[in-house]
């Protein structure tokens, strides 16, 4: 379980997160939505300890993550952009992370699952964007962590691989993992998310299920509900909203 208490962060004078308080439970997929620059990535990076918050605290299973690094062995992270050392091969990368983590890993299952048998000994720089993204996903999953964080995982993946990754997320949820997902693909949210957390200008604007989100906005699908949420916040600029055809 992840507890976030009054988390605040600003870059220079620009506040990115404004006292966010949030509780994430095991066995659920949380989708983080919000326009660009709303603080999604900063929030995720704060949980990972990549970004250091100005105020507030993050507690993972009763353990404060401040000045702590051991808790990261319980997190699997799939970043947005996959860039690896040029001269390593895929297997060397896995060996290296296993060496660092010192826990058992089942990367072989995932290599077979994502059909990466042929890429084993290829230098990572020669792999396509989508393949690198799969390698990234395997890195997040192979240690069987309690918490999984996916930052726009669908970017660059072909439809089949995307489907497979989504299936994996569902399976991991069944195993009782806490899954955090940021995405701009709303169908992914509708399919997977148990709860939607809508961030806007560094604040949680909405937290609830997809159904609740749609209902509170008086709309009939998620896309329109999100659009309405966004438009409502643009108070001064009056954009004409054409009637649904």
């Amino acid at each position: 379980m992840i507890q976030i208490k009054e988390l605040a962060k600003s870059f220079g004078k620009v506040p990115v997160l404004k006292e966010i308080t949030l509780q994430l439970e095991a066995g659920k997929i949380y989708a983080f939505l919000g326009p660009n620059g709303s603080g999604k990535t900063t929030l995720i990076k704060s949980i990972l300890g990549l970004t250091l918050p100005d105020a507030g605290e993050i507690i993972i299973d009763n353990e404060n993550i401040k000045n702590n690094w051991r808790y990261k062995s319980r997190i699997g992270y799939m970043p947005q952009i996959a860039r690896f050392p040029e001269n390593l091969t895929m297997m060397e990368l896995f060996r290296m992370t296993k060496d660092i983590r010192k826990t058992t890993a089942n990367e072989e299952d995932y290599i077979a699952y994502f059909n990466l048998e042929e890429s084993r000994e290829k230098a990572l720089k020669n792999l396509s964007g989508g393949t690198k993204q799969k390698v990234n996903a395997i890195l997040a999953l192979m240690f069987n962590p309690d918490i999984l964080i996916f930052d726009e995982p669908s970017v660059g993946l072909d439809p089949v691989s995307h489907l497979r990754l989504k299936d994996l997320m569902r399976q991991e949820r069944e195993k009782g993992k806490t899954i955090l997902l940021t995405t701009h693909i709303l169908s992914e949210v509708e399919e997977l998310a148990d709860e939607v957390i809508f961030l806007l200008e560094g604040k949680i604007y909405f937290k609830g299920t997809v159904k609740e989100l749609v209902e509170t906005q008086d709309e009939n699908n998620l896309e329109r509900a999100i659009a309405r949420l966004l438009l409502r916040t643009e108070k001064k600029t009056k954009i004409q909203y054409p009637e649904a055809a």
Partner: protein, 262 residues
């Protein structure tokens, strides 16, 4: 095995396997062999080599350091998400890169020397050159890492790092000379030694030159230098100065990186 050593090991192998490190080592091998073979005189060859090492090693270390630091940014983020201490990760990257560069120089210079089959006295002088080259590598890689963490923008960081190199390799000497000419009427021996201590490249140059016969050409200055740098305390002092040049930028780098947002 400690996490720090694992990081050192991987960044060491990663750099060593790129063509650059190999090319770097081969370059020194070829140049040293050529100089030794054609000049016929070890002393002359070593002086040419010295100038080359003092100019190129800082430059290459700076460029490598900055490139490595900026290019491994995303991968560093990935590693930061692993259960690792930040200080271990960054110190490991620094040591891995420095070690592979040092290995390239040492092998390049050393192999050429073995081919040439030099005497014991000569190998001492070459050893000094390799030692200074290694220290300069450690210094300028550290400065490059520090610059890359201070400047988010790659182009800016690259430019500043090159400026630092240009300053210590070229401009500093110019200013030094201007200073000597301007204050010609005053006794400058002590001041000269002091100023030399503030530039790792100059310091290395003096430390090596004094061990060669060429030192006689330095005249009175050489005698003053010899009186200071030639003694054991003077040697220890200049080595400490070089070590400070390694540790200070490195410590500032590690401190900055501890508070940095990725």
């Amino acid at each position: 095995m400690n996490a720090l050593f694992k990081i050192i090991k991987y960044s060491f192998y990663d750099t060593l396997r790129s063509w650059w490190a190999l090319f770097y080592g081969l370059f020194f091998l070829v140049i040293t062999t050529t100089l030794l073979y054609f000049s016929g005189d070890f002393n002359k060859a070593l002086v040419s080599l010295l100038n080359l090492v003092l100019l190129l090693v800082p430059l290459i270390s700076t460029v490598f350091g900055v490139m490595y630091s900026y290019n491994s940014r995303e991968f560093t983020e990935l590693l930061l998400a692993q259960p690792l201490k930040r200080s271990h990760l960054f110190l490991g990257q620094y040591l891995g890169l420095t070690l592979s560069l040092v290995l390239s120089i040492s092998l390049g210079l050393g192999a050429a020397f073995l081919l040439h089959a030099g005497s014991v006295a000569e190998s001492g002088q070459l050893g000094m050159l390799i030692l200074c080259g290694s220290l300069l590598t450690a210094i300028f890689t550290g400065i490059a890492f520090l610059v890359s963490v201070l400047f988010e923008d790659r182009i800016k960081g690259f430019g500043i790092a090159i400026l630092v190199w240009l300053f210590s390799a070229v401009i500093y000497d110019g200013l030094f000379l201007a200073f000597l000419v301007m204050f010609n009427d005053y006794p400058l021996e002590k001041a000269t030694i002091g100023i030399a201590l503030f530039n790792p490249i100059d310091l290395s140059r003096i430390m090596i030159l004094l061990r060669l016969e060429t030192a006689a050409l330095l005249g009175y200055t050489g005698a003053v230098f010899n009186k200071f740098f030639g003694t054991v305390p003077g040697m220890l002092f200049s080595f400490s100065a070089l070590l400070l040049w390694i540790f200070i930028p490195l410590l500032v780098f590690l401190k900055k990186v501890q508070r940095k947002d990725f």
